[in-house]
Symmetry: D2
């Protein structure tokens, strides 16, 4: 067998477990280190790996010359430091989105990657989802003609814990950034006008000055219009849809269900609630994202998400948040 | 057989033909007059009726003491005069939406109806559609819990003629008013903030200072948010959907297809494009609306759409149009 | 208005009401007589008609020289006599299926029609259903290539009354004949081998030497295979489906639902049970069948169901019943 | 990390590759040997494994005392010898279905397993498919009441090679055995009457005295009826469905599609063709089957498919084949 990519997982919380399992299932990787300040988290992932060492800090891993890559799944606040350190140690980096809530820090990380000649992949997993990719390709190749309306729906399930919500960066950055990225990816242009309405039906969320229910409207130079709706609670399973209207037709990516079973009784025709949450809905996307990272490391392919993509998403999410706070539309200028 | 309701159809154009056919198929009505300035239109409908007389003006019909009801399907500009005349002649009136583009004229008509003690039904047919009614009832009885997001989609097929578009009252009143009414009907409250973005992909429509692609965002006192998207062109058939998110679930009314046939080949799984246009999509709604009108005439039931409903829709449509023109949100105060 | 077809309805029971309402809604017909031994049945239909006379026997109607057509909806045992009488009085006849359970009587009726030069349409309404017609046309024009497997499902809802079951002609003729006809219509050939298995889960049905659950297998000269499943009880609504496999694909006609509403909660994704029973499921088919009858009467178009069709269905249903009784396959020879 | 199960893969052809990949992705196994007479096949799988040795015969593997388990994916003719050898070497065995075409050989293998006290799992993967499992559980717990009709559809894609077809054991054993097993599993009883019709639309298949299109009818002691349709060609993707009618409702397991994308144009509403073939359709089932095998090896859980299951499927498949050959129903007695 050819050489595997020796890799470290940094952060073994809920999304870290997802990436950890995918690393173990992907024969192109050899998981050597699992790093987490909480030892139990690190042990949980490492216990399934034949060769993984548990660490509480990344330094020992970065010192290992055989280590080629790092996957960062820590809270956002720690991203920048870990990315910079890893890049300087010449480790290819895949970091969960967002790189940072601040555009300057995003720029700093990507500039460091450029300087070091080491790849940096930001993990917006939806770009790797087979349904979304097929939809985006259909749009880009003109299957529905001129693109006119893009609508995305992102509704969480279950409601995240208050502990998570406090460090989440608020709904526009935490959830909306995915949809903002998807709209740019589909339309191939940047919005010039952003308007957002937000509500907090859950009192605790309002008290954090955050929102649980949001509608973002975007206008693009071509005349295209986008609408994003976000919610922290979809009782019927994780709800993630995209719909694009063009002058020749419409293309949609619908929700997934755990099984194809349909039960028909005098009460109606019933099938499963949608996939429970992101690990179930995006199982393929996360696995394909990791494989894309392997391609970046071993074949030098270009990351599907660029520096420009990562920074513009942050700028637009900021604008949407500002609009929701002020009640006014926000204009954006790009040059 | 019991006495039928002797009725006159005023305006025998595209929507007039729909109501004409429904009158003929409904045994509770006896079509006595078909009135249209264009004789061929009137004859077209009357030729299928055993007892209908063709008229070029409404006066002879209104003078007939046996005539009990009038259905008005003329261009909007003629509504007010015909309604007032008919009410004064003690004929129950069903008038296609909108009564008028001007709130004062709507008030005038309803006030006259009140004064005359004669019923006036404004034809927002979606309130009679079985799928939409079932959805609205589910929302009102709490099947999805607290209502948080309402999304409606109304996309025309085929693109109306430029001749029609010129007298249509523009997209916010012509199309959007239906959706604005639906949102109020579902939520049971009036919006306090309206923001709209509009584009004109079709040059001729832009030149009329109208739009063919629109997104309206509404905020309600309860915190609920509504999103309406409108388009003059849905290449895949008339697209009319409603979706409501509540904290306990989601309810949707989907599009209808002419047949249930599915063709599966190596090219994919394919079914019919959606119902071609409004007469096909709302065939049941129009028939049930007419039957509701029969109930109003013979049983004195309350019209499903009130004076208040008709006037508020006009006010909100105005606000949305103004927002699209100015690029700013419009606040609404109700007392 | 042009002359309507003066028509008599004979038999105003459950299916008679369906045809009666369609006659009233179709402007091409003028309902003049409603005949039923049970006066209340006749009055029920006639009360909605402006010009209909209630009769307890057909003779007065047949004596009316202006009467052009008769729709027969009586129990099967009375069909032959009424058909022959009507044909001899030069009235075009539409008769509910089956003309008779006996092939010789079917022949007698059609021979009389030929002799009189008066049209006779046997009412297998599925041939007029838009979904089934589109499916059959797709099959005949080669959309799925060489036809290999036809599967039909016909499951009743609600379970008919024992009174009805006693005069129904048993499940193979009452229900199965529709499916047998559909298979011939799609395949364009006659089966050479028939095998049937039957069960009676409902004790009372077994005691009548009838079955409530049946599977019929048919083999055709081309090598095509058909499978028909029948049940007297589909708790989830009237279940009527067709599926055809060809070497290039598959075509299916699925069930219909009363509304397009979907309710999604933590219990799953739920929509309406299927259309309640035959009047709901085949509303369009019955209306189109009647319109086809109007075309036969006024334009001389050929009935969609021929003498040959009607008699062969009876022969095949007999064979299936015999197979279920004996446990052996039955071979059929056609020349 | 706890000790992994050291395992050998015997047979690295098309299904061997499926199991090989699942072994590599499952952290509970450590793939030590890949055995195939065709070295390239063995190398293909082994190249992705960190510790796997390529062998041309099983003996060296069986001599390894650390090896605990064997997965057999060779042509059916070699199953018996390999199973017996492996069991005697105290290796737990998972063998692709069927163990053998001959009931006596099946008995021999299971008897040896019993004698050796070593587990033997026969790989009918559908029993591990999440949709089918959920359907079977719904049936067994009474969600649709008394079970009356079971219908399964198994249509291959693509048409297997003639080389494969020659060693396949013919369609009743190769394909039908899965469906026969599924019917028994759902109904919990054995059929007493079997009737089958077969056609060969493809000339080469007829020349092998095999069939490509088959309909099997089965009757069970409870009165339940089953219908199985098989085809070697489903142009629209691998078609694998189950439908069960009970007196309280119906439950179905539908096909899977690679993505959830829907493209709507004036040509209709289109989604992906179904999953291409068995590796795509049953990806979860094969992975879960392997995990079940790990549970058998490490936790001593009972194999989901018993000796009785394996042998009865063979008996029923034989009866169906005999019926298709003779044109007569075959009765079965069980004691």
């Amino acid at each position: 067998m050819e050489g595997r990519i020796q890799i470290a997982l940094v952060g073994a919380g809920r999304i870290g477990v997802v990436h950890g399992n995918n690393i173990l299932a992907n024969q192109r990787f050899d998981l050597r280190y699992v790093v987490d300040a909480v030892e139990a988290n690190a042990k949980n992932v490492a216990s399934k790996a034949p060769n993984a060492k548990v660490l509480s800090s990344i330094d020992e891993a970065l010192a290992d010359p055989n280590l080629k890559a790092v996957v960062i799944c820590t809270p956002t606040a720690q991203h920048k430091e870990l990315i910079i350190k890893s890049l300087r140690a010449k480790k290819a980096v895949m970091c969960e989105k967002p790189i940072s809530l601040k555009v300057e820090e995003i720029d700093e990380c990507y500039n460091e990657a450029k300087k070091c000649g080491t790849p940096l992949l930001c993990g917006y997993q939806r770009r790797h989802d087979p349904s979304f990719r097929q939809l985006q390709e259909a749009c880009r190749k003109g299957s529905v003609g001129t693109l006119q309306i893009v609508k995305t729906t992102s509704r969480d399930n279950p409601v995240p814990t208050l502990a998570y919500l406090k460090i989440s960066g608020k709904i526009f950055h935490d959830c909306g950034s995915h949809d903002i990225d998807v709209c740019r990816w589909i339309l191939g242009e940047d919005p010039v006008e952003v308007f957002a309405i937000g509500s907090a039906f859950k009192k605790e969320i309002g008290e954090m000055h955050d929102w649980d229910t949001v509608l973002i409207s975007l206008k693009y130079p071509s005349g295209a219009i986008a609408s994003i709706d976000l919610s922290r609670k979809a009782a019927y399973g994780y709800d993630q849809r995209i719909e694009v209207l063009g002058d020749k037709g419409m293309v949609q990516a619908m929700n997934k269900q755990p099984t194809t079973m349909i039960l028909s009784t005098d009460e109606g025709i019933k099938s499963d609630a949608y996939c429970y949450s992101f690990p179930q809905r995006y199982d393929q996307a996360y696995a394909l994202e990791l494989d894309h990272f392997a391609d970046i490391v071993t074949k030098g392919v270009e990351p599907r998400l660029s520096h420009d993509d990562a920074r513009k998403v942050a700028i637009i999410a900021d604008a949407a948040e500002k609009s929701a706070e002020t009640g006014k539309p926000v204009s954006l200028k790009w040059d």
